[in-house]
Amino acid sequence: MTPCTKLVCACLSGLEMDNDQQSKDSSDRFDLLSEDGKNRKSVVCQRCGSKVLCPGMAVFAEKELVLPSMRKKSNLSTTEGSADGDTLTAHWLVDDMYTFENVGFTKDVGRIKYLICADCEIGPIGWHCLDDKKSFYVALERVNHT
């Protein structure tokens, strides 16, 4: 694997893994990407299957973001230094909120709005900063692909 591919794999996995695990995951993860770097599959909610994005509507983007955990009670208003946050790097990026099939937006937490499932409201599945009106991130690890 070239160093460049390794870097992409590391981003896709979003976690620290050993080399063998990286190779296995990269072959699983690469089928999520089309040739032009867009989502090959539909992006859906992990819990209820609500469709978030149709195929080809988002591009893969690498960005380090801290998203509060979905599975524990956590106070989202204070995410700084919270042990319940996950640092995620692999995301689907869209530039217009009307690109989404179904998605919810939380109220503001500082300059951030979190994205949640529109139907069952689980989240956060994504992130949006009000200072960048053309960037909406959905974390690959927080969704399923079908």
Binding site: G56, P68, K72, L76, Y98, V103, F105, Y114
Partner: protein, 242 residues
Amino acid sequence: MDPRYDIPRRAAGGSGGSANSSPAMGAQSRRRKMPPRPADFKLQIIIIGSRGVGKTSLMERYTDDTFCEACKSTVGVDFKIKTVELRGRKIRLQIWDTAGQERFNSITSAYYRGAKGIVLVYDITKQETFEDLPKWMKMIDKYASEEAELLLVGNKLDCETDRIISRQQGERFASRISGMRFCEASAKDNFNVDEIFLKLVDDILSKMPLEITNKELSNSVLSLQPEPEVPPELPPPRMRCC
């Protein structure tokens, strides 16, 4: 937006699309899977009504105790994008649920201004939520567009045994307001909930001219901020009487 994903306006001899025009090649390209298209329209819907009528549960499909909805309970939901398909068109709805802002004046005029559809909810088991309706109508008359479609929803149909407001009462209220539709629903039983949005969108679409561009609609889109820029002039107060 990528031009590949635009719907071709004309079936034959279209620009963009496939360069092959012979029937054989045309048939072949039809078999090729079409990429999902982006939405045809964007519409804004607001859900209003007194506290406790169940507005928020109209929007939510599932509650599951194994997951804690950290986002929902600690931060609150601002709005949702939802997609419905109707009359062969794909429509994106931006839905603002005004839960938690039931004091009549605290829901800013901005929410009403851009709304193409307004869902006004009361609780069939609570008299006061029905008696509050004229006050909500005052807000609608004052701030909402004349063209906004109205739908009155009597919620909590699952509590039939505790019913205070009859169906006839709800129908009568709606019939007194021109263009207002009525239905009863149960968010708990998921009865009529999807139909509510489909019904509203259907009404909105039926009023639209056949050819309408996204550009015209996008002018009415509220920004993410709850207080968008004030337009040059407010729409005139709209009279709603039959």
